[in-house]
């Protein structure tokens, strides 16, 4: 199975958008970060020939129940959960802060997912850390 270019493109496309989101909106940085991770995961699943992943539930089921994807699941599940709840909170800044983004959301969840995807697809790691806008910019 070849490298799924469309998911790779969308992965990069969403990654670029993350760095454009103002520091005042960490909730949307989390949400877009999740969709960065989702396209990375879908690239891997397609590369692995996994079919019938057409919903969050079906994707979760594959990640959770496949030993090959355990490391991805352990970072993907919290990021998915955080992103799906935070959008609905009336006061999301009480739930996470901008300061949580680089250390917790990126280094704890997003980057490990991306690194695992690169490793499992056996392609060189080319991504750099996502530059964030500084508070007040």
């Amino acid at each position: 199975m070849g490298i799924p270019q469309r998911h790779l493109d969308q992965w990069l496309h969403n990654r670029k958008f993350v760095s454009l989101i103002p520091a005042t909106h960490p909730d949307w940085i989390v949400t877009v970060s999740f969709y960065v991770a989702l396209h990375a995961v879908d690239a891997l699943l397609q590369s692995d020939g996994v079919r019938r992943v057409n919903s969050h539930d079906s994707r979760n089921e594959v990640l959770m129940n496949t030993r090959r994807y355990t490391r991805i699941w352990d970072a993907y599940q919290p990021l998915h959960d955080l992103s799906r709840r935070i959008r609905y909170l009336a006061d999301p800044l009480q739930w996470i802060t901008f300061e949580d983004i680089p250390k917790q959301v990126f280094r704890r969840y997003l980057y490990p997912i991306e690194e695992s995807v690169y490793r499992l697809m056996a392609v060189p790691h080319t991504h750099v850390d996502i530059p964030l806008q500084k508070p007040g910019e």
Binding site: D74, A75, Q77, P78, D81, L82, L89, W95
Partner: protein, 172 residues
């Protein structure tokens, strides 16, 4: 069995296959299409095929097994939460379509990243360890419980509602 069978009020009761002290056997291969007429204590009469009776019994057994698994999982969850009482103040369970939704309330007011890591592992363990189908796990703030759960249907499996749900406490 009533769901499987067809009610037939007013029919004449048929004579039983054998005396009531003897076991009556239903073989799907032989009796699958045969009609059985069942007489509950009320005046209803239920007409059901042998196949429908067998399917109804199998369903009852599988529901009972699933409920036993659910009870075991809830006991496991209560122990899991108790062991993490410094991080978890509450846990709600709700049936959501074909899956079980478990939402945990952290003790603080912020998303707890350490708890989130543990919940991802717990999610895997619950699905692998209990035969109850898909389980979804998440973390929500105490004050937003009613935004993510139907409190009429959800069950608090750990903690108490006043501590686990700020909004419930505010309403009471």
């Amino acid at each position: 069995m009533m769901e499987q069978g067809q009610k037939a009020s007013g029919m004449n009761p048929m004579t039983a296959m054998s005396s009531s002290s003897e076991s009556a056997h239903i073989f799907q291969s032989r009796d699958g299409d045969r009609q059985f007429i069942i007489h509950p204590e009320n005046d209803e009469i239920i007409v059901s095929t042998g196949k429908q009776i067998i399917q109804g019994c199998q369903l009852s057994i599988s529901v009972a097994v699933w409920l036993d698994e659910l009870k075991s999982m809830v006991a496991h969850l209560q122990k899991w939460c108790s062991e993490r009482s410094a991080r978890v103040s509450g846990c709600y369970l709700e049936g959501r379509g074909s899956k079980i939704l478990l939402l945990f309330i952290p003790t603080g007011t912020r998303f707890n990243f350490d708890l989130a890591d543990e919940l991802a592992v717990l999610n895997r363990e619950l699905v692998a360890g209990f035969n109850i189908g898909m389980v979804e796990v998440g973390q929500i703030p105490a004050g937003d419980v009613d935004r993510f759960l139907d409190l009429e249907k959800a069950r608090l499996v750990y903690g108490n509602s006043s501590e686990a749900s700020g909004s419930v406490a505010a309403q009471s």
